[in-house]
């Protein structure tokens, strides 16, 4: 793709034979603006020569409000040296829009830069600006929207193959879903399921699935709070999600993401927690009992015979017991969490026990 981009605009570089702008005939008409800092100023900066020269030319063309192919190439040159310099990016965007360049070309160029700068903020803001300007051009053309959605999904997949939990990529993904209206796009849901299959502990993928399913404007109540029941969500969607997440929890019972998702689904669907008691109990064995089955004789201590495959299950079980009014069992669950299975958060579990007393 990149090879098709015009050399005049992309990858053409700046500078004469020695790489300096001062010896490049194309830049001979520009008087560089060198930054003067007072002697001994706090936080004064000593730049390497190439960078200082490029910045001096940048200041000159920015002051002259020049928008031209050479300016675009100058920004590329500086971005290569210092991709975090946000002023350069803003000026680049101004050039793209002033010259009315094909936005897809700029996105193609940006894809390469993004892959080399995974944690950079500016690439995402730049992309955002490009999409905001591109979207109105294709909004009324479903084929163009779906082609663009597919190419963005391919780019996102490539970025995630470098870091499956990159926060910028995931927040950009939710933006694209909203902007292009991809809530019912089967490929989007399939892509997320693929990522969860690869790593069931990918919290970003779980979070995105929740957004796709429960913020779908086809049925979700506009403005419904994320932690509140939504009567608009069809029961079969809630059933499907419970089925999906419980299957994934069985693969990794101590995975927080799955349990948080399950709780979220129960709330959205307005379901009683007790409706999943059977499932949750699979992960808690002989709670509080002294001896394991067939264990050796003798006096054991409380809980010596118990096994807890998931602290999150025991936590949820405590809530289920409380919901059913079985206060002693709820208290035992919370006590065992603080005493043995999750000691680092004993303060939290003790607080929960106090709440039981108050609630009784």
């Amino acid at each position: 793709m990149a090879a098709e981009l015009k050399k005049e605009l992309y990858g053409g570089g700046v500078g004469g034979e020695d790489g300096k702008l001062s010896t490049d005939p194309e830049w001979a008409d520009v008087e560089p603006v060198v930054l003067q800092e007072p002697e001994g100023a706090l936080a004064a900066i000593a730049y390497p020569d190439d960078y200082a020269e490029a910045m001096a030319y940048l200041r000159a063309v920015m002051q002259a409000k020049e928008h031209s192919p050479r300016c675009l190439r100058l920004t590329e040159h500086i971005i290569e040296m210092n991709p975090a310099h946000y002023t350069v990016w803003l000026y680049r965007a101004a050039n793209v829009f002033a010259l009315n360049l094909p936005i897809l070309d700029e996105i193609t160029w940006l894809n390469e830069v993004a892959l080399q700068n995974l944690k950079n903020y500016q690439i995402w803001h730049h992309r955002h600006l490009l999409v905001e300007n591109y979207h109105p051009l294709i909004a009324s053309d479903p084929a163009a929207i779906s082609a663009f959605a597919a190419s963005e999904r391919a780019f996102i997949a490539q970025m995630l193959s470098e870091d499956t939990k990159n926060y910028h990529v995931w927040s950009y993904r939710s933006y694209v879903v909203s902007k292009l209206g991809l809530f019912d796009d089967a490929d989007e849901l399939a892509a997320i399921e693929g990522l969860i299959d690869k790593d069931v502990r990918n919290n970003s993928a779980w979070s995105h699935r929740f957004f796709l399913v429960f913020s779908n404007p086809a049925y979700a109540t506009p403005g419904a709070a994320a932690t509140a029941y939504d009567a608009g969500v069809p029961a079969e969607v809630v059933d499907r999600e419970i089925e999906y997440v419980t299957g994934k929890i069985r693969l990794a019972p101590q995975n927080q993401s799955g349990w948080n998702y399950l709780r979220g689904v129960m709330v959205k669907g307005g379901r009683k927690l007790a409706s999943v008691e059977g499932f949750v109990s699979e992960f808690v064995i002989r709670l509080g009992e002294e001896r394991s089955e067939g264990g050796k004789e003798g006096e054991g201590e409380e809980g010596e015979g118990e096994d807890v495959l998931s602290t999150h299950a025991l936590d949820l079980l405590a809530e289920i017991y409380a919901e059913k009014g079985e206060k002693e069992k709820a208290d035992l669950s919370l006590r065992r969490l603080g005493q043995k299975w999750d000691r680092i958060r004993v303060g939290y579990w003790e607080w929960r026990r106090k709440c039981l007393e108050v609630g009784a």
């Binding site: 930054l35 800092e37 936080a43 900066i45 946000y86 919290n203 994320a226 995975n255």
Partner: protein, 328 residues
């Protein structure tokens, strides 16, 4: 649950004077590659360094007059501040500028030698999106709850909150809430401890903590502590000292700090120090930097580690500063 820290090993202690030396040395590294590469963070960096020194009880370890000169040299006609001279104005550097001037008690110099408080307030309020209530980082419109928090932080310090539509801003934060009780960078984005801090602090400044599901959020935040005592930013991620601040300050704001093990967290932060040359890193044995240093120190301060000045959990500045400026 007593906070004595007497359980910590002998050799695990805060190396205060090494940290002061480290921060003072940052300004003398101008020839280093990293220094100009991080130019876009210069004003933020000064805020991180200065806050560290204040928490260490050495507020005068950076020269006050030069500090004010530098901050004012970054200001534009619009009232906004760039990260360094020659950089475009940006919300984040503007907030850092206001925080620095608040710490060195120099709002009067902003009036006499700078463009004045009102102009700064104007710059910030112009960045509010009147449809959604959120704030952009600059005139180009990148939106992030970091900018919204920054706006409320700086405007409240300047006493100019009335310049913006606080109710609209609050609505936007509420829209960023997630099913797990946390908050993301924008509606629909994954919960992230850093964004949670910005959202909870913004709601606290706005006096709207009533919108927070404190129990659910507190549960999620306390789950960030992992074996070894450190805190992570999201489920199934590695621990990192910066989350000692984002997670802990959020817990503090909603009154749930006792839900995690403070001794173990303090020990984790202390293990991330460079005991000889000073500074704090993300994890034990890594390279130190000023960003992890300030959040490590601020975390220890919130944990009431002895010898540190108390930090304000909403502003990440000394409590003495916010008390003076906000009149608390």
């Amino acid at each position: 649950m007593a906070q004595s820290f007497s359980q910590l090993p002998e050799d695990l202690r805060l190396v205060k004077s090494a940290h002061v030396t480290y921060i003072q040395s940052l300004d003398s590294r101008k020839d280093e590659y990293d220094y100009w590469l991080t130019e876009h963070l210069r004003l933020n960096g000064l805020y991180w360094g200065l806050t560290s020194l204040h928490l260490l009880g050495q507020p005068d370890a950076l020269p006050r007059a030069e500090t004010i000169d530098f901050v004012l040299s970054c200001q534009h006609e619009t009232g906004g501040f760039g990260a360094a001279p020659g950089h475009d104005a940006h919300m984040l550097s503007t907030v850092s500028a206001v925080q620095i001037l608040a710490m060195v008690d120099a709002f009067d110099e902003l009036e006499t030698r700078g463009k004045g408080k009102a102009q700064v307030g104007q710059y910030i309020s112009n960045l509010q999106n009147h449809e959604t209530g959120t704030f952009a980082g600059d005139e180009w419109g990148e939106e992030d709850t970091r900018f919204l928090y920054g706006a409320l932080n700086a405007l409240s310090l300047l006493g100019l909150l009335e310049l913006v539509d606080v109710d609209k801003a609050v609505q936007h934060v509420a829209a960023c809430a997630n099913f797990d009780g946390g908050y993301g960078v924008s509606p629909g984005a994954e919960s992230h401890s850093g964004q949670i801090f910005t959202c909870v602090a913004a709601l606290t400044i706005a006096g709207r903590q009533d919108l927070i599901d404190k129990e659910r959020l507190g549960r999620w935040l306390s789950e960030r502590q992992i074996a070894g005592g450190g805190l992570n930013g999201r489920p199934e991620k590695k621990e990192d000292v910066c989350y000692s601040w984002w997670v802990l300050s959020s817990l503090e704001m909603i009154g749930k700090t006792h839900w995690i093990d403070k001794d173990q967290l303090a020990a984790f932060i202390l293990r991330c120090q460079d005991p000889e040359r000073g500074g704090i890193s993300d994890r034990p044995g890594d390279m130190v930097d000023v960003w992890h240093t300030v959040f490590g120190l601020a975390g220890l301060s919130l944990l009431k580690y002895p010898g540190l000045q108390p930090v304000d959990e909403v502003y990440c500045m000394p409590k003495s500063t916010t008390a003076r400026v906000l009149g608390h």
